[in-house]
C-alpha cells in the first residue's frame, strides 16, 4: 500500500513552479483523492 493511499490531497501549484494539473496527473493512480487543485501565480 502506498503512503498516499486513502489520503485527501490538496495540491497548491504555482505557475512558475509545478502547476496543479501536472501534480494531479502524476498522482492520479496513487490511491489518494484530490480534494482540490489550484495554480497560483505571482505578478
Amino acid at each position: 500500500m502506498g503512503k498516499l493511499e486513502g489520503k485527501k490531497l490538496v495540491l497548491l501549484g504555482e505557475r512558475d513552479g509545478v502547476a496543479g494539473p501536472a501534480m494531479e496527473e502524476s498522482l492520479k493512480n496513487c490511491g489518494a483523492e484530490v480534494v482540490f487543485s489550484v495554480t497560483e501565480c505571482f505578478v
Partner: protein, 109 residues
C-alpha cells in the same frame, strides 16, 4: 497564500479531518514554499486570511520530495514534471518544506 485558497484548505480539513489531508506544494522558490507550508501548519503568518490563528498542523510536502515522487507514475512524472525538476532547486525546496513540517506539522506520511 490567496485568501480564498486558505478558506478551501480550512474547509477541507474540517470536512475530511486534518489527519487525512496531505498538502502538496508546487512552489518555485524556497521562501515561498516556506510561507505556504507555514500557513497550512501553524496558521497564516500574515494574519490576513481565514487560517490566521488556525494551526491546522497538516502534513505538507513539496512535489519534488522523494516521499511524493515515489508515489507518482514514473512515465507521467517525466512528462508532466521532469522538465521543472531540472530547472528548480529540488533540494532547497525539499529542505525548506521539511524544516517547516518538522517544526509545525502534527501529521506526516
Amino acid at each position: 497564500m490567496d485568501l480564498q485558497n486558505q478558506q478551501r484548505v480550512k474547509d477541507a480539513a474540517e470536512k475530511f479531518g486534518a489527519e487525512n489531508i496531505v498538502v502538496i506544494l508546487g512552489s518555485s522558490d524556497a521562501e515561498g514554499a516556506e510561507i505556504y507550508a507555514e500557513t497550512v501548519t501553524n496558521g497564516d503568518p500574515t494574519f490576513a486570511g481565514p487560517l490566521a490563528g488556525a494551526p491546522l498542523g497538516l502534513a505538507v510536502y513539496h512535489i519534488l520530495e522523494p516521499e511524493i515522487k515515489e508515489e507518482a507514475d514514473p512515465d507521467v512524472w517525466e512528462d508532466q514534471i521532469g522538465m521543472m525538476e531540472m530547472v528548480l532547486d529540488g533540494e532547497a525546496l525539499a529542505n525548506a518544506v521539511k524544516g517547516i513540517r518538522e517544526k509545525f506539522s502534527k501529521y506526516s506520511l
